[in-house]
């Protein structure tokens, strides 16, 4: 494991190697070398299974982080490969040639985050959201509550309580909800 990571560090310039759990290690890799790295891991190192791929929106840093989770059945450990892509140019190399099932994930990411995967099959078709006409809903600048109120409306009479405050009032009514 250590040898492999050192070799990857030398060949692919990976960074931020973190051992998150006993059998889970994550690291960052540059966007350009990501596909070659994944191919190397699949063909040479035995990480033959793509658990999932997903995306994290770091709006503060102006990046999306794509996460590829690979599993090795012989060594029984998992690698998380993080790839940062810019929010302005949100495109990534499609990996459906490496794992055929990846096109489904890529189609979902295209819909939920608006990340482009050129060449991925059926990537521009509607997945869960049919006829969506707003910015992709999982982007953090999308105000889902405001959108819900505008499009679906709210029934009058709904009220929500802060549990902590509410219980204080319930438990100490004479003290105006004050504990002391």
């Amino acid at each position: 494991m250590k040898d492999m990571l050192q070799r990857l560090q030398r060949d692919f310039n990976i960074s931020d190697i973190t051992e998150r759990q006993l059998r889970l290690t994550t690291f960052h890799v540059k966007k350009q070398s990501a596909e070659t790295l994944l191919r190397e891991l699949r063909d040479r190192e035995g990480y033959t299974h793509l658990n999932f791929m997903t995306c994290i929106d770091y709006i503060e840093d102006d990046i999306f982080t794509l996460v590829y989770m690979l599993h090795n059945y012989d060594k029984k450990n998992t690698l998380g490969i993080h790839v940062n892509i810019s929010r302005d140019d949100e495109a990534m190399i499609s990996i459906h040639t490496l794992w055929a099932q990846a096109w489904t994930y890529q189609r979902e990411l295209r819909e939920m985050y608006g990340i482009r995967f050129p060449g991925s099959p059926r990537v521009d078709e509607d997945f869960c959201l049919e006829g969506w006409d707003q910015i992709p809903p999982m982007r953090r600048e999308f105000d889902t509550k405001k959108f819900s109120e505008e499009r679906f409306g709210h029934r009058a009479g709904r009220q929500s309580e802060q549990p902590r405050k509410h219980m204080k009032v319930e438990l100490y009514p004479n003290r105006g909800g004050d504990e002391k």
């Binding site: 959201l129 679906f152 009479g157 709904r158």
Partner: protein, 211 residues
């Protein structure tokens, strides 16, 4: 070519369909149910309806999991004349199992309109009432009765099968009393319901009424 369109003045536009598809679907409006003129006959019909409620086996949300035990020996909904049906054409009760996402709502509308009358809708759980825990979701409708008429609400998250049995008994009472007129409500306010539906379903590519 044989045209299946009706030449009456008051027809539906079916504007979501292409010209070719327009020939294939009916554009007639739904019609309201008129009760039998003799009250005793209508009462007898209602009694019969109340005792053979056939539920459409279309699990539309997480609440659909509560429909499965209903048929088992423990709850045995068969003693109330309840049975599951695989197709809308044979069923008379549509149980909305919890939240309805926009994508599902389209299928719900399509299935509901294909059901033969008399038909009843039970809304299960809190989500059809006010959105429940999905009140701020980008994809879940908050007030289900804006899109389809609801005859009976069973609230809770999740309601147990016992409550569903109680709800079915309540529905039977209402049917016997002749109070379940949701389907007629839908016909009478058809344009209002349809405009609400089209406000949330943006890719309307089906006929305005699915006969």
């Amino acid at each position: 070519m044989f045209k299946k369109t009706l030449n009456t003045e008051d027809t539906l536009k079916n504007s979501g369909l292409t010209d070719e598809e327009q020939q294939l679907f009916s554009n007639a409006r739904p019609q309201a149910y008129e009760p039998y003129p003799i009250k005793a006959v209508e009462d007898f019909a209602n009694w019969a309806r109340a005792n053979s409620l056939w539920i459409l086996a279309f699990g539309t949300g997480c609440g659909a999991i509560e429909l499965r035990p209903l048929m088992t020996a423990r709850f045995d909904a068969n003693r109330f004349g309840v049975a599951g049906r695989p197709t809308p054409r044979q069923s008379s009760v549509f149980v909305i199992g919890g939240y309805a996402s926009v994508k599902t709502l389209k299928r719900i509308i399509r299935s509901y309109e294909q059901m033969q009358g008399p038909k009843f809708v039970i809304a299960l759980g809190i989500c059809p009432v006010n959105g429940g825990m999905y009140f701020d979701s980008y994809n879940t409708v908050n007030q289900f009765d804006q899109y389809l008429p609801v005859d009976l609400y069973i609230t809770g998250c999740m309601p147990r099968p016992e409550v569903l049995v109680a709800g079915i008994m309540e529905l039977q009472k209402k049917i016997k009393a002749g109070e379940c007129n949701g389907a007629n409500l839908y016909v009478e306010n058809f344009d209002w319901y349809k405009s609400n539906q089209k406000k949330v379903i943006k890719n309307w590519d089906m006929p305005d009424y699915n006969w």
